[in-house]
């Protein structure tokens, strides 16, 4: 009879496969940063496009970058890409309509 210390604790017959935890509402609760940043990015790009404010468009680009960096694994890449493209287009359109350099608000 072998003691517990000597015997191998491994049991190949008791192997269980990994089951990814079911995604409940918890992912959004854990860290809402990517969702907020995505929303902010879209709002700022629309403001930049409609009101022709260059600084809005630049902030939108930053928001979409931050959202991408904080994104969860289950995040849809299509949404990331679409918000990114929207913010880039807001910047480009602002400069096409008005090539003047941005003036600081102060």
């Amino acid at each position: 009879m072998s003691t517990n210390n000597m015997s191998d604790p491994r049991r190949p017959n008791k192997v269980l496969r990994y089951k990814p935890p079911p995604s409940e509402g918890n992912p959004a609760l854990d860290d809402p940063t990517p969702d907020y940043m995505n929303l902010l990015g879209m709002i700022f790009s629309m403001c930049g496009l409609m009101l022709k404010l260059k600084w809005c468009a630049w902030v939108a680009v930053y928001c979409s970058f931050i959202s991408f960096a904080n994104s969860r694994s289950s995040e849809d890449t299509k949404q990331m890409m679409s918000s990114f493209m929207l913010s880039i287009s807001a910047v480009v359109m602002s400069y096409l309509q008005n090539p003047q350099p941005m003036t600081p608000p102060w």
Binding site: N4, P9, R10, R11, P12, K14, V15, L16, R17, Y18, K19, P20, N26, W58, V61, Y62, F65, I66, A69, N70, S71, R72, S73, P99, Q100, P101, M102, T103, P104
Partner: protein
Amino acid sequence: MKVLHTFCIVLLVFGSVSEAKFDDFEDEEDIVEYDDNDFAEFEDVMEDSVTESPQRVITTEDDEDETTVELEGPDENQEGDFEDVDTQEGDTESEPYDDEEFEGYEDKPDTSSSKNKDPITIVDVPAHLQNSWESYYLEILMVTGLLAYIMNYIIGKNKNSRLAQAWFNTHRELLESNFTLVGDDGTNKEASSTGKLNQENEHIYNLWCSGRVCCEGMLIQLRFLKRQDLLNVLARMMRPVSDQVQIKVTMNDEDMDTYVFAVGTRKALVRLQKEMQDLSEFCSDKPKSGAKYGLPDSLAILSEMGEVTDGMMDTKMVHFLTHYADKIESVHFSDQFSGPKIMQEEGQPLKLPDTKRTLLFTFNVPGSGNTYPKDMEALLPLMNMVIYSIDKAKKFRLNREGKQKADKNRARVEENFLKLTHVQRQEAAQSRREEKKRAEKERIMNEEDPEKQRRAKLRLKKKKKKKFSIFSTFGTLHQLIAL
């Protein structure tokens, strides 16, 4: 007609260049005078004036008759030419302008200029006309910021990856000696060790180990800081946070007795007591100091009953906890673990959440954020503690008294839950019954065979009668008793 047309164009042009000078020109008499007969003279005059002053001539579009229009030059000159037409004076043709005519006019500009004897101010050329990169300094700043963010993303991602790999290299041997399956992402057909971490995010890495006595499996989650996000990096400069390693061991039902127990930093325990379903229900007292067992002051204990604490705090466990107190955030053993409290919108859930016998460990990586791969070696003894805990949980059994207490506690919690949800459960049962009836009726209606339909309807009627008769019997009996 062509001449008339040309003349109209001339009129329009003169009208737009100067307004005040054409008093004579705007008089109706003058306009009236210009009938067709005069145009011939006008033409001659115009042709003459062409030869005399060619430099101030601009031809119009219908320039077939060689009529010219003077758009530039002093107004007096043009006025003078027209006056020539009217008065047919040859003398004025040669002079550029009539001095007498514009005496008053010359004074006015002089007087106006004498009023505004301001020094000459040099106005700055607007930025967009400057044609230099310096005026776009804000844009350059923005792009630089973006580049800095991207650089930080790449650097942070790589650092997290190196830390994860360093952790795995350190712990691989210990894990492989204890578990058959080390590393599984659940996608392979066969249960074979992948031998590497699952990357969930840029800052979260998972590892699943299985195939050991006592436990079903162990999920290790490396929760690093978000080094890839520059905002997070800047926020951490204000408030230092540590990387964490979270280990969740799922025990077999027969290998763990029924108790709920937690030890860790006071702050962590207070937070867990609020958040976790089982700790809030079974360990209602505040976290107690562990000084009685020789634990440092930084650690506190939450326990369902004293016997559990006495059983858990053996020498080796106390040794582990004391030596590595700075790295331990929380240790939580529970047979009623169901995760954090679920806040449902409709109110209480209708049945108790599923529970699992679990051992949870949360360790802080030393360095407080400024972690290096070699710091991962400091966590190896903690993994030994985990393995020891698994074996201990299997060995530790409550005595008879303890078991009774534990069973009472669990019954109490269940009863409380049932009381709270009584109304909801009643409503749910009612709706279920109605649903059944509706389904039955629908089934009868859908029955194609009319004979079968008739028989089914009869059966339903009989059932209703029976129920009604039973109720009425009870009702009368009740009344009799009451009397």
